[in-house]
Symmetry: C2
Subunit: 209 residues, 2 copies
Amino acid sequence: MTPSSENPQDRRAGILATTTELFLSHGFAGTSMATLARAVGMQKASLYHHFTSKEDLFIACVTEGYEATVRALDALRADPTLSDAQRVRATMEELYRINLETSVGRMAPLISEVAQVIPSVAQAFHSGFITRQYAIVTGMIEDGIARGSFDAVDPLGMQHLIFGPIITLSLSREMTAQFPDRDTLYPVARIRASHIDLILRLLTGRAVT
Amino acid sequence: MTPSSENPQDRRAGILATTTELFLSHGFAGTSMATLARAVGMQKASLYHHFTSKEDLFIACVTEGYEATVRALDALRADPTLSDAQRVRATMEELYRINLETSVGRMAPLISEVAQVIPSVAQAFHSGFITRQYAIVTGMIEDGIARGSFDAVDPLGMQHLIFGPIITLSLSREMTAQFPDRDTLYPVARIRASHIDLILRLLTGRAVT
DNA sequence: TTCCAACAACCGACCGTTCGGTAGGATAAT
DNA sequence: ATTATCCTACCGAACGGTCGGTTGTTGGAA
């Protein structure tokens, strides 16, 4: 039959994008290969032509795609045109975007589901995505403290104070995805603004930049 | 065969405790009724004698058990022997216990997995557990502000700053449950102490009680 | 330019296994 | 004798995965 469309690189990316959405909404065990194949417009056997197993497909969904997000954060950390407070603000806005709007950012609950069955994917996700995000932000705060821009706060505590509300907000919105009043329960813009304000207040002692 | 043991109330609670652990570690779709039955020491058909369906069993796991946890928080809020700062500190310590050590506190990722398939359970969990936790803490902060004990911070922002790191820590520890260095990556006692300290600093302006 | 082997992509049909759930009988306490 | 509890045995459906075979594309030899 026809190669269906476009170039093979885009095809693979398209399959991953579609299947990732289904994994996110129905879980790993709750999504069958037949369902995935139908969603990308092919038969199950054809999907097995592209990926050797369901596990292989899932690992590809998780690992491919977070490289770009981490690079964006690295760029912010190295940006010399920003003040330390501006850098933290811009980074937090990017973290909200990554963890609420990209599929890789919404994958943490999914990873915890399969962590016991496929331990390697938990390792890869944690070291490749989570740890690197943490390191960038923690380094940013330590830089600010060293330069005298920030108060001498505990970087570990600040790290959890920055990431905790963002990741939990992502999880809360997944959990309430089909609630009619989700945006009232969890208003992203207002929560983000308040969060950033409070963090900067802690870092710079009262000033809101 | 014999009624196996003890009184029927404890029996049901025992079944729920065991199956909840399995649901938590392998997900809803990833845990079969046969596996659950074997874990509680009976045959699948016998488990169906106690619960009419897998969904029924799961809903019981989620809904039964969070009443006690919410009552403990209510008691803290009403305790007149505590200062406002002490009350927040004691409440946060209890929140860490609930969300890290009790099974109901670790269920958020599980709920998000089944939310699309069983919408009612997401509704019940959210209104019966999440919303009530939030309301207690938010009310506590508003009380403190009204009494002049706390600075005039945004209660919504504070709510997310308090719950976010706790729920995320719970999720992170689930995700890294089988990592050999989990307690080094996520040292609960140190994170909790730092978290409480930073929250009180925001509320009382610098003082650490 | 033509031909054809090699190849990636795809399909319908099928494999053995496991799924959630049910029927009917055995056991044991009351 | 009744009732609650548990069992073995079974059902149709769905699961992950494999099979042999068909199609369009491609590139090099004639």
